[in-house]
């Protein structure tokens, strides 16, 4: 059985090995960029069908950002939206025969998590300055400094292991069932995989947004556990 951790090297550029995941990532990036460019090239007050679909996506994104964190969506729309769309398309790319989703590779997920980590720092510094950002580690009191630093690392780590584990286990289980039972048997599992891919993309984007929002709010209000703060406004009365 092939290890899900070994990369599939397609070809080499000098000393750099180009794996299948990288080529798939390039293809997805090209599709997203060209698609976005083609749709937004002629924007009109009377939207065409494609423009209406895009507007629906952006509006849904804005609503989700506002609902989950209660901040104005404009500065975060681009990053969070790109993150969500990329992970969604990457998860669903396993539908094409012969293509492994790049998110089933540790490297892609680690890169995405590093992006989130850096963007949390960037938005935090932009909102409250370097001093305010450093001071946010000392909330509620300076005893918590090591714990806060540890938390900011581990939550990103858990985020990328979550995405990797979910997508990889889907691909892995489909491979096992297909080799044990036959060609058409894993179809229900693939349908479940579609749902898991959507939910994981949503979770990744929402968690990134929650982390960014907690950094932006800074010392004013700390989020002790971001996982629990997913739906702060939706408690039953």
């Amino acid at each position: 059985m092939k290890s899900p951790l070994d990369p599939t090297v397609l070809f080499q550029i000098g000393p750099v090995a180009i794996t299948q995941a990288i080529v798939t990532t390039w293809a997805i990036m090209a599709i997203l960029v060209i698609g976005a460019f083609a749709v937004t090239r002629r924007l009109n007050l009377r939207p065409t069908r494609w423009q209406a679909a895009l507007e629906l996506m952006v509006a849904t994104l804005d609503t989700q950002i506002t609902e989950t964190t209660g901040v104005a969506p404009a500065p975060y729309r681009g990053f969070i939206g790109t993150l969500f769309l990329f992970i969604l398309v990457a998860n669903w790319s396993s539908l094409l025969p012969g293509i492994d989703p790049p998110t089933a590779r540790l490297e892609t997920d680690a890169a995405l998590a590093v992006l989130v980590f850096l963007s949390v720092i960037w938005f935090g510094i932009r909102a409250s300055g370097v001093g305010g950002w450093l001071k946010s580690f000392a909330t509620p009191n300076p005893v918590m400094i090591p714990l806060n630093i540890l938390q900011s690392l581990t939550r990103v780590f858990s985020m990328f292991v979550r995405l990797f584990g979910n997508v990889m286990s889907g691909v892995f289980i489909i491979g096992i069932v297909a080799s044990l039972a036959g060609l058409l048997v894993p179809i229900p599992l693939m349908a479940l995989d579609l749902l898991i891919g959507l939910v994981q993309a949503y979770i990744f984007a929402v968690l990134a947004m929650v982390f960014i929002a907690s950094a932006v709010e800074g010392g004013a209000r700390t989020q002790p556990n971001a996982d629990l703060a997913l739906y702060p406004t939706k408690k039953d009365p």
Partner: protein, 81 residues
Amino acid sequence: MDYALLASIFCAAFAVAFGAIGPALAEGRAVAAALDAIARQPDAANTISRTLFVGLAMIETTAIYCLVIALLLLFANPLLA
């Protein structure tokens, strides 16, 4: 006899087996609570089921961590290299 190999195979199986117990119980409780909530307030079914799916995925992640550990033991074990 290679004891490190045997031990890592057994540990991989145990990791998945015992790691699945907690999330299974938790998912059962979560679904039961969500069904209860939907039965009380059918109007809020959309919000409840969306929150339920996200919560289930979060809970399931615990089991997936165990699966990742098991696969690390089987395929990327530093002791067997």
